[in-house]
């Protein structure tokens, strides 16, 4: 008569590869890049995302993604553009997936105030988000505030430089039209 063996709880066996926390080859390239760019990156995110909590969220994700993808750094032409490209993609994803409501919820338990920014800067950011879709807004900020070239932007967006120039041109026209319309409305109201 065979005796039944006691049933034991199965232990999950993981086969994931364990990588060293600090990769000598790529870590050396990433660390100075982050040190030199973190502040600009943080500013870029508040320029395109009105919600500061969400922007904090995105910078965290960006740095994590950069660390995970650090092996790509040896191939990229412009490391800063590579990092800003990651931030751009994360921002677009955050803005499109309705994470604003969650960020608003998180704000309820925040224990600090937002820093006082100039009214003009905040108004311009709000104006941009009112008149331009996120992708155009981000493209204009990267081009005109952070000075990335059409080639950099093409690498960030996986488009051709010509396609980027066309999109930039359309975004520019749209912004200028909105500015002119705003000016006319202001002058009309002043004349009354």
């Amino acid at each position: 008569m065979s005796q039944k063996a006691p049933v034991r709880q199965r232990t999950a066996v993981t086969t994931s590869r364990v990588e060293p926390a600090h990769d000598e080859r790529y870590g050396h390239a990433l660390e100075p890049l982050l040190a030199a760019t973190e502040k600009r990156l943080g500013r870029f995110l508040v320029q395109i995302i009105r919600d500061r909590t969400l922007a904090e969220d995105v910078i965290q994700e960006t740095l994590l993604a950069a660390f995970e993808q650090r092996a790509e750094l040896v191939h990229v032409r412009n490391p800063e553009a590579w990092l800003f490209g990651i931030a751009r993609n994360r921002s677009l994803h955050a803005l499109r997936t309705g994470r604003r409501a969650r960020a608003a919820l998180e704000r309820l338990v925040r224990d600090r105030e937002d820093p006082p920014d100039s009214v003009e800067a905040v108004a311009i950011r709000d104006f941009l988000s009112r008149v331009l879709p996120p992708e155009d807004r981000i493209l204009l900020v990267l081009r005109y505030v952070h000075g990335f070239s059409a080639i950099d932007l093409a690498e960030m967006t996986c488009r051709s430089p010509d396609a980027v120039r066309q999109r930039l041109s359309r975004a520019r026209q749209r912004l200028l039209a909105a500015l002119d319309s705003d000016d006319r409305a202001l002058q009309t109201s002043l004349r009354r």
């Binding site: 508040v46 965290q60 505030v145």
Partner: protein, 166 residues
């Protein structure tokens, strides 16, 4: 950086210039990460929901107990009404209940003299099956099935068995 040539380019660059003054965000320190904050919100929400559910459950229990004070399965309308189980020999009751497919747990009560036991009227213990010489004195139900309270038929300290209600 490419040379900005057109008037339009310069106009947009000037318009966007104040954006450079915005205070940058920094990666949050570990203790204040989004996950931690979100966990705090969710825990708070869960606590509120649990409190609300507890309140509702308490209210329902209170109202039910006032509206229908006796919900034992042998009460009028109960699924064992008129089965004459109360007062029946416990071993016979076990046979009847097994035949009906009921899931039963048994509680044997040993009654004592309250005057000599600090007001305690008896002690109940779980038994796997009713011992010989015991009778059913009450039946209750719980989510797992029926709970049948039994006692020795010759227990001198026991109160009289309630008569069946049919």
């Amino acid at each position: 950086m490419e040379e900005l040539t057109s008037i339009e380019d310069r106009r947009i660059e000037t318009f966007l210039e104040p954006l450079r003054t915005l205070t940058p965000v920094r990666p949050t320190p570990p203790g204040s990460s989004r996950a931690t904050r979100l966990r705090a919100v969710l825990l708070g929400g869960a606590a509120l929901i649990a409190l609300a559910a507890g309140g509702v459950a308490f209210a329902r229990g209170a109202f039910t107990s006032h509206a229908t004070p006796d919900r034992a399965p042998v009460s009028a309308g109960g699924r064992l009404a008129c089965s004459h189980l109360v007062g029946l020999d416990a071993q016979r009751a076990a046979t009847v209940l097994r035949a009906r497919g009921e899931v039963v747990s048994w509680r044997l009560t040993r009654y004592v003299d309250p005057a000599q036991n600090g007001g305690v009227v008896g002690f109940a213990s779980d038994v796997a099956s009713p011992p010989p010489g015991t009778v059913v004195e009450d039946i209750a139900s719980d989510p797992q099935g029926l709970v049948v309270f039994i006692r020795r038929s010759d227990d001198a300290n026991a109160p009289p068995v309630l008569t069946p209600r049919c």
